[in-house]
Symmetry: C2
Subunit: 455 residues, 2 copies
């Protein structure tokens, strides 16, 4: 291993130059004027895969190209791992908030500022360079590697969802590795082993056939906005628990080990409260804020609409009221089952004075890799060696839908090994990537393959 | 009295012609292009007052003229009554929904269709004609009459509010009579003896300093939309009672007499429910729908606003949530006292996880004339004789703010003697006025003065 790590250390300045070259291509997938830049990005990373010694194919799609690159000489006796990344980036707007042009990478100490450098160019480039280090230093990789790098992650991965079912053989693997997320600090390298799922819907209550004069009629009919408030109010108790019958039935309990691991993540209540801008925190009783926002299911109202919302007042009983709602689900809750339970509960609670309509939105499964299983343990060991600090276990409160697609089509688990720091500003002005995280990420990736292959 | 009623009957076709002439002037106060038509309207009614035998002054104001016309030879031994009306009308839009041009009165049987003919030209013209009948048939009126006819009622009566304080002597009176409202049917002539007041405000709850990702943070902080729902939900119990402490303290109890009188108003639940378009009625337990919407106070949400309201979903914990609210108040509730009580209650209920802001809107006093007092009894007798049917007592759920101004500046009670029928379509296309109501209104007015003078 020493010569591989030496290769990484000796060539760091070249890798940083390459990172800057890659980050200078404005591959904004949301903006059609950047179609050419996305092609340039795909070509750049494909060529870089070739340079690293990989056999590379650029797959044309109805959208942006998908790059698939494999280590040479597939050995069916060895395990195979897929590394997923994306070369497209978020829009850079608003430009005037950037301290330097977003597509002219600017180095300040150990940080490099550029759009897309952390999300996701730097992170998958680190894996690619680690593979190169294995190949160029004359060592035999203990596994087969397949790099899968797409160009539509920031706009929903439509091309990739279409691509997966027809390329399951080409992408067959024992596990997927994704570095497209974060860690608490350089001293807290982390494996993210769980993601929350989601279930979205819209609740609408219809009352009178049109807005009514609240003076002439008010008092003799239900006010749909009040009915909606009373309906929604009943869905969460004073302890922050969702009151839908059966809601918690399938929730996987946090083990003592998991809670102890999550507690190792640095946390400062005053700082967190200030960051959110709230006068006081609130969450499900019996759980820490980190647990509440990653390992516990939620019921969130995302929007409320009813009646008059303009200036001043309008004296009406509104004809209807509606709420947009998303629930975050955790392993092993099923979006389908939860939506059915909520629907039943709302129907049973809804007064006969209004008409209830429930519109289903999207659903997404929660995700969990056994944090005490061999894959997780292997990843934790590689992280510890790569970063030089004890690694922690994290749960992510959001959803990464592609993980479920990999599970479905490749029947493979995903290991999430983030390299982004909390102040990397992904999706915001002045995005940056830490060269220390870049270097530690490369080392971790180099160390990961023998750990995973032996697991 | 017979010769006076004969005068009214004998000249009816002339009065209908006059009504049509008056209704053909498009005095839309909300539209500046009709400024000249408002002047023409004021001149028309002023001239008509002169023809009736009244001493008439057209007062210039910063807005539209105010017409004041008095019976000749003021006799200070007799009581004085003010008849209030307005010559301005609502906009006629949307024109395409009218079956005939809104300012070309069209007679169909005993109805005449035209904008403003019911609201309010026909109703004050009936009073004016009744006064003419007294004067032209050689009888001595048992009272002094002052007609006060303004041209900005449909846009807030700004000129009249400015005019009143400086003209209290000219308008001094023992009571005010207004016919600018409705009755259940020609067989149910009605005195409206009470109006609800109003108190408006806006409740806003602020949570995080910006919309937050509901996946990353949701669960660890209060959702302001949920907090708003839970706050508002607590303000009304399952019996439809407002839970604000002290809210009902000053509510004047409906007497057995009043309830019996209100019960005489024709009511059909299935028809009413269908008219509102609701699956089931709802209101404060222990009261009929007519009582709930006129004699009982309410707390109505007029609008709800929070977070994302566009298409699809947006997975956020919204930064804030707000509700527009108006409460209808009844005698003897005070808007000031009620607003203070609600404010205290909301502050005591608001969780420490959000910041509460309460913005006061307008307030309006409720209004009540003793339904068993001499003025009310006199009016009920006149109505019965004028319409030929037993009269009923009504409460109006809305507010007529000018009534409070008359109370304040003239220290005079107001009798509300509507002539409009439920299908008159005021403020809507195809407004009409019933010539039977017109004739009954004239007779009632002629009969009213001796009754009131003797009361």
């Amino acid at each position: 291993m020493q010569s591989i790590l030496k290769y990484l250390a000796d060539n760091e300045s070249r890798f940083v130059d390459e990172l800057c070259a890659y980050a200078s291509i404005p591959g904004v997938s949301a903006q059609s004027q950047h179609a050419g830049d996305l092609r340039t990005s795909a070509d750049w990373i494909a060529k870089r895969c070739e340079t690293a010694g990989l056999k590379t194919v650029v797959h044309e799609t109805a959208g942006n190209p998908i790059v698939v690159a494999k280590t040479p000489g597939h050995d069916s006796r060895k395990p195979t791992f897929v590394v997923y990344g994306h070369y497209d980036v978020q829009p850079a707007e608003p430009f005037d908030l950037w301290h330097s042009p977003p597509f002219q990478p600017r180095r300040v100490g150990r940080d490099v500022f550029a759009r897309g450098i952390s999300d996701n160019k730097g992170q998958h480039l680190a894996h690619l360079i680690a593979a190169e280090a294995w190949l160029k230093s004359g060592h035999e990789l203990p596994c087969n590697l397949t790099f899968l790098i797409e160009g539509e992650e920031e706009v929903g991965s439509k091309a990739l969802y279409g691509f997966l079912p027809g390329h399951t053989k080409e992408l067959a693997c024992d596990a997927v590795v994704i570095s497209d997320n974060g860690i608490p600090s350089l001293k807290h390298p982390a494996l993210t082993y769980a993601l929350r799922g989601i279930a979205a819907f819209e609740i609408r209550l219809d009352g009178p056939s049109r807005d009514l004069h609240s003076g002439i009629y008010g008092g003799s009919l239900e006010n749909p906005a009040m009915a909606l408030c009373q309906l929604l109010a009943k869905l969460r108790d004073a302890n922050g628990r969702i009151t839908v019958p059966g809601f918690y039935d399938d929730v996987a309990k946090l083990s003592t080990y998991e809670r102890r691991q999550l507690a190792r993540v640095p946390y400062n209540e005053a700082k967190y409260r200030k960051f959110l801008g709230v006068p006081e925190l609130f969450g499900e009783a019996g759980f820490t804020p980190d647990e509440q926002r990653s390992a516990r299911p939620t019921f969130e109202i995302n929007g409320l609409t009813s009646g008059y919302q303009g200036e001043g007042s309008k004296t009406i009983v509104p004809a209807w009221a509606s709420a947009k709602v998303t629930m975050r689900l955790v392993p092993n809750q099923s979006p389908k089952k939860i939506i059915a339970a909520v629907k039943r509960h709302l129907q049973s609670l809804c007064p006969p004075t209004v008409r209830l309509t429930l519109k289903h939105g999207h659903g997404g499964e929660p995700y969990l890799v056994d944090p005490t299983g061999p894959l997780a343990k292997a990843a934790l060991r590689a992280l510890k060696s790569g970063f030089g600090h004890e690694s922690v276990l994290l749960r992510e409160g959001g959803s990464i839908p592609i993980v479920s697609a990999f599970k479905k089509h490749l029947t493979a688990d995903t290991l999430l090994l983030g390299m982004a720091l909390p102040d990397d500003n992904p999706h915001s002005p002045n995005e940056k990537f830490s060269l220390d995280a870049f270097a530690a990420g490369m080392r971790t990736s180099a160390l990961l393959w023998p750990e995973l292959a032996a697991a």
